[in-house]
């Protein structure tokens, strides 16, 4: 099974993506994750995501393929946006289907944990007052989130 991975500026049609992975008969579980742009208590007008073209897609594909080797998945879908994203809009969509829910939950969580630290994307804040804010700093909790998968 080859994961489907896309990186682009356009909105992700979450309903259509979810529908495309459901109702195949073989799958008993579909876990989806959507990461949204927050408004940070009304402070932000947008997040701008810079990416490394080519490598971004390649890294996400590598992570998705690792998940597909580690768990018995029926389908894997990962989509990540770049460019300017308004609060309330989706930044990332991950979906994993499997016969039973355990594998789908774990694989989706695994993909997200590594996507945050391995896929070359950088967020910068655009503020409501029209100014450009700073680059979002990486969190130690994100950096260490991948570690738990080495212990399991």
């Amino acid at each position: 099974m080859a994961p489907k991975v896309t990186v682009g500026e356009a909105r992700i049609d979450v309903a259509a993506e979810t529908e495309a992975l459901s109702g195949e008969g073989a799958a008993g579980a579909l876990v989806t994750f959507i990461g949204y742009c927050r408004d940070e208590e009304g402070r932000l007008s947008a997040l701008e995501l810079e990416h490394y073209p080519g490598m971004a897609e390649r890294e996400i594909r590598k992570i998705a393929e690792e998940a597909a080797e580690r768990w018995p998945l029926i389908a894997v879908r990962a989509a990540h946006r770049h460019g300017k994203i308004a609060p309330g809009e989706e930044i990332v969509f991950v979906a994993c289907s499997s016969r039973h829910r355990g594998a789908a939950f774990e694989a989706a969580s695994y993909i997200m944990d590594f996507m945050k630290t391995k896929a070359p994307f950088w967020k910068r804040e655009h503020l409501k007052d029209g100014s450009v804010g700073g680059w979002v700093e990486s969190k130690a909790t994100d950096e260490s989130a991948g570690d738990k998968w080495h212990r399991i």
Partner: protein, 83 residues
């Protein structure tokens, strides 16, 4: 050799990519970061804490001990904040 910069590394250096000829003795990623820092205040500002700089050679993450021989494109960037 082509160098590419992203996010605040790109902003601080003031360009997104450049072609460079590496001087003799610059053999590893760590050597490259040291050499770049000597090229001007903008490089020094971007790379002043070299241990946090992430590096990819031909679109693969590498450690700072990695050798540069055979590299086509080397990218320097801050820790990633996607997802």
């Amino acid at each position: 050799m082509k160098l590419s910069y992203f996010a605040w590394v790109r902003e601080r250096i003031g360009k997104s990519d450049e072609e460079v000829a590496l001087p003799a003795g610059v053999e590893t990623v760590s050597d490259l970061l040291d050499w770049l820092r000597s090229r001007g205040e903008n490089y020094e500002y971007a790379l002043q804490v070299p241990e946090i700089i992430r590096v990819a050679i031909d679109q693969e993450h590498v450690d700072h001990s990695e050798r540069l021989a055979g590299a086509g494109e080397i990218a320097l960037f801050p820790p990633m904040t996607g997802g």
